[in-house]
Amino acid sequence: MPSRRLLLLPALAALLAASGCRDAKIATYRVPRETPPPAAANAQSADPHAGLGIPPVNAASSPAPAMPTDMASTAVPTASGGDLSWTTPANWQSRAASAMRKATFIIPGESAGEQAELAVTAFPGDVGGNLANVNRWRQQLQLAPISASELDSALTHLHAGDLHIDVAELLGPVPADGKPRQRVLGAIVPFNGATWFFKLTGPDALVSREKSAYLAFVQTIRPSR
């Protein structure tokens, strides 16, 4: 009886068609009241995000703050770690690291109140790639974005140990309000599945003066032991 057998095919097709569909329905339920998780730090902390619940961005870990150690990866304990370390010039003053920063350094200028700041941040992945990152810095200085073909000439390639470092130097436009022109020296360091940024921002004269110290500093960057 072909007609009876014919039923077999649509039945199988329906079974297959039902696959691949994940239920994206809105669910409602009532649960005993939950206390929101404690804030990352208290109000007295040096952490500027205290109480906001933003977890620290840790380049050594995955982008998921809640991603735990997988047991399959624990057989080689020497693979742990993953931060970078460096040596800073003596005149750079360390500030407390925050939830979103690995480190902050202040470089005092000649006159009172004049200073440049070096921020060390790290994000998982390549954060969009060098072009996106350089253009993000350019946008911060109100500079027009560059194209992919201009990227290579905008970067200086350095090596520190096994690390490859791309350094970008940007000079902002002359501000209309008489404030000093801003200069940025930014180093991009891919490491361990994350990207580290060492961004020195400050008045043009001060950052230019510190340029050789900054370049010497980036050459000291090494994986932590």
Partner: protein, 384 residues
Amino acid sequence: MRDTWNSFVKFFISLRVTVVLLALSIILIFAATLDQVNLGIWAVQEKYFRTFFVLWDVKGFPLPVFPGGYFIGGLLLINLVASHVYRFKLTWKKSGILLTHAGLIILLVGELLTGLWQEEFQLRLDQGQTRNYSESYRFNELAVVDATDPNWDQVVAIPEERLQQRDEIQHERLPFRIVTRAYYPNAAVQMREELGNASAPPPATRDIGARLAIIPIPLTYKQNERNLPAAVIELLGPSNVSLGTWVVSTMLVQPQTFDYAGRTWRLAMRFERAYKPYSLTLLKFSHDRYVGTEIPKNFASKVRLHSQDGSTDREVLIYMNNPLRFDGLTFYQAGFDNNDTTTVLQVVRNPSWILPYIACAMMGIGLLIQFGIHLFAFINKRRA
């Protein structure tokens, strides 16, 4: 009509079709294995096996380039079943082959049902902590919580897909509509003042969103990483009156609270939760190492299982290869964190888990019978 049907049947019972399908499946598995380096195990399963066609993205347009696992597996299943219906006759001599093929059919159906029904979550517990829900490690949700009652939270959990699809979300339990203004499948959030980019407008008007910047990050497919979605959502009251825009992100640990329509609401993008009528408390997590080395010897979680109705209250030791099976779920020891003070249990529901075992047993017995029949026939022939 009869001729058409016959040629149709002839095609589906053809051994040539079987060989072609097997060859295609070899190519599919080979390509998927190579691509696992780029995509990881989950994405490979979705892209190559749990799909009808493998799609190739050509300038943003997905083109089907190769039959997927469901297509090949489905046709193999039809081929196998049709062959049995039309070709095989039950004789003692072919009973082994029949049993082996029946096992293969169950294996194919079992994989399909696993793809359809299996749910995988994780339960993360700090020492002393009690939880009555597990969390998905692949899917996320926007939880809109009516937190007015001092004892109970009324939750409306909206799957991330709905935000991604930019649906205007209206729900009977919500006095406002939710509209997705921006969606990022993987993004970091950072304080704007730290980016030094104060000139760029904040992504949202309400709460922490007014002080944040969203940094999109490429999607990750690595097995030990997960994507952290973020979205900018606008809440619209009656007559399309905007209540403001919020940034929601799985990176924001704290929910955002606001008052509207005389009630207190909380907004949180979080890993999708599955609540249970029972709870687990981590009493102790042990991570034993071989003496003098850092090489792990054993992981074990001592937990207290307590059901809300009081029918179950006992201590359980979960360790590697010794999961807890309860309420149709299996709790495996899967990971650890925070200097061995946090345990991570994998929580799996797979109603069809028994099918591969049955299939393998049937195929094993079938092959034994078939080879046995041939062996005895051969021995008898030599004796004669």
